[in-house]
Subunit: 430 residues, 2 copies
């Protein structure tokens, strides 16, 4: 029996999409010609939605439509159509501060839960580019700017409390998408769960060890509690290399349908975790050992530049935009005592405490997002495309080694350079 | 010009209340007789609302009505009537787990923003009882039960994420009341602000020192950020000895109109802070030095028993009610490895980490709530009723001494006994 959907909703297909788009003047005008001239291809390779590319005589558009269930699993796993609304809302908010990093939204249909946006070309999904060993020189600066802006400007440092609470309430409705994260990232990989899968029998021992590692499960559960209870900023919610489209000179972040107010470290950590996962997967894509040494060095340099850049940029934004209710400016200027220098120094110390805590969260979430891609339901093509099972398992084992360390030892890790050094040491021992 | 109010709203007075209550059968029946037989007295001594006591031939009721402004300040400070709705909602939720500690709600009028509840008799406001030096033997066990239940059962440990997010969204609307706390507790006492007042000139030096104490302002601002961003549980939001009515055998918590999802440490900390404030105020109410030594010893013992009892009870609830999405039971039982002992031990360690963090938050919030009552807008009668200004200032100075320590040194304070020992040492040095 098909799932019940609201009146007016119907899932489109390659045959019906063009007729629909013909009724939307902004899209029809952009494509040029008439519906008969448009080529439509369903290309969704994500886990949740329909994605169509439509090419007209003048231009192309990308159309994303929510299905009432998880595409990867089928209609046995219902999922609210409203995730399209949350994606659209989150994009509108992020566009205020990071518009250049987002695809332009052309049209939103609240009945069809459908978003039409610019067709990004010649962009490709970054994960695929990294599997091919492609360097993206613009990526790091772009992602520093995106994450720092998107997080800073939706935090209590930039927003007045009333406005922030209004947004928190709005995104609290995206609970089913959050639940996917809660279950698949923070829970299932650490217990026997039907949906888990891993490279077996090679990784059976480490899967068992991880399910039995009390210290790890404790640390993961504390990270889950933060994910559940800390509304620090509006997160993308699924910020990995599969949610980023790139060229050598451009970077766009897509798919913010998991958006909600959560801990900032989750977004930056998930991105770093996925870069590390790519790092360890490189050995599986080499024809000859060592052939991707330079590429690995680019990845570790990118990770370092990303975190360090994020930290610097976030603090710059903090100093330049003290518009929120947290850390009121006049508490850090000491107008009636020894002048503003001490106040500024004190704010600097507060920022140091703040960023250190964010860094530790980031490491923990990075580790969790690596583990779930190897022991949980949803795997990444970085590893899946390594055909030789033994080689894949070796790459995955090294990934897990670092991941467990990041989660359990976050407090002891002094810097992002210590993380990349650990990664390099594990790789060198291979 | 009077403030605009919604259609149907009118502020009642002693003359109009009886006619209104006559139209509410449950209330009229409870009071007995007819409106002409009822004695009505407006007794509000809080800062925000109208409060009426109504006595009929059979029984009494208490009626609380929100005004569209802050009563303490007047109509120059508008405040949403909806706070009555939040109070009513919070009471309904807390009543599921702590009904015996709450007055029974008899009637709610959404147009008049009016709550009628049982008349508590012979209860008095605990703050007044403490000024008189009265011991309340039932208080500590009752408040342990109330705080542990009210906080535990609205946290992610007890609630499923979807249900919690629904409640978070609902209470996010109570932003104006939160703003009062944000401004008056976490901001104004630390800067020159029109509304600040203190015992002057005696405390001018310490007020200046506090406005210039960068480490203190940093710590307070980090506590404010937590207050703004951490939705750990449904808080009462204003849990001090003026929100508690007591007899020797009963304890009732009233006035949860500041309710919202915030950091648990705020509720328990505010209560402890107010007990400490009472402790230091006792010297001002002594006819002879030392006459209240026993009472002071009762207060410190109460503080110790309250925190230790809260911690123990919260963990008992955690072990017995693992119904929430945080800390899933099957991650702490290790069914497939060495059995459940190690899992339980590990959960114990997680609980230790959790409670230590909550304790540090509690100390910080205790300190903030003491400072605001001495340097901010709203003072407490504990100190205000000390007529001799010099004696009052001496009591207040000792209070501030401990408060600053609690905020700045929270991480270094090993136990609640260390707090009461500091208090006793400050008092002994007097």
């Amino acid at each position: 029996m098909p799932l019940a959907t609201p009146a007016g909703y119907r899932a489109l297909d390659e045959a019906t999409l063009a007729a629909y788009l013909e009724t939307v003047p902004t899209i029809a005008g952009r494509l040029g010609g008439a519906a008969a001239d448009w080529r439509v291809a369903e290309v969704g390779d994500g886990n949740l939605n329909l994605v169509f590319l439509v090419e007209g005589p003048n231009d192309g558009v990308c159309v994303k439509q929510a299905l009432p269930y998880v595409r990867l699993v089928g209609d046995g796993w219902p999922l609210p159509l409203e995730r399209a609304w949350f994606e659209h809302e989150a994009t509108q908010i992020q566009a205020r501060h990071a518009a250049e990093r987002l695809p332009a939204i052309l049209h939103y249909d609240p009945q069809l839960y459908l978003i039409a946006m610019e067709r990004l070309a010649p962009h490709i999904i970054m994960r695929r580019g990294m599997i091919a060993g492609t360097v993206y020189p613009a990526f790091v600066d772009h992602m520093v700017e995106y994450t720092a802006n998107a997080l800073y400007f939706t935090s209590d440092l930039a927003l007045r409390a009333g406005e922030k609470k209004r947004l928190v309430a709005q995104f609290a409705g995206n609970t089913e998408l959050c639940k996917i994260t809660e279950d698949l990232i923070f829970t299932d990989p650490y217990r026997i769960a039907e949906l888990n899968r891993w490279t077996s029998p090679e990784l059976d021992d480490v899967a068992l060890a991880i399910r039995g590692d009390d210290g790890l499960k404790r640390a993961v559960s504390l990270l889950k509690l933060k994910f559940l209870s800390r509304g620090e900023a509006l997160l993308h919610g699924d910020l990995h290399t599969g949610s980023i489209m790139v060229t050598a000179t451009d970077t766009k972040v897509i798919d913010p349908e998991f958006a909600f107010f959560g801990p900032m470290g989750f977004d930056v950590g998930k991105l770093i975790g996925n870069l590390l996962l790519s790092y360890f997967s490189q050995a599986g894509h080499e024809q000859e050992a060592g052939e991707r040494d330079d590429y690995r060095a680019w990845i570790t340099a990118t990770i370092e530049r990303f975190w360090n850049g994020f930290e610097r940029r976030f603090i710059e934004l903090w100093l330049a935009n003290r518009t929120g209710d947290a850390f009121p400016a006049d508490l850090f200027e000491n107008a009636d005592t020894e002048g503003s220098d001490a106040g500024r120094r004190s704010l600097g110390q507060a920022q140091h405490i703040f960023m250190r805590e964010l860094f530790e969260d980031c490491l923990g979430y990075a580790g969790c997002s690596m583990i779930r891609r190897i022991l949980g339901l949803a795997h990444n093509i970085d590893m899946e495309w390594i055909e030789d099972q033994g080689r894949r398992a070796a790459c995955e084992r090294r990934t897990l080694g670092l991941a467990v360390d990041l989660v359990k030892q976050a407090r002891q890790i002094p810097s992002i350079e210590a993380v990349t050094a650990k990664a390099a040491a594990l790789q060198a021992a291979a």
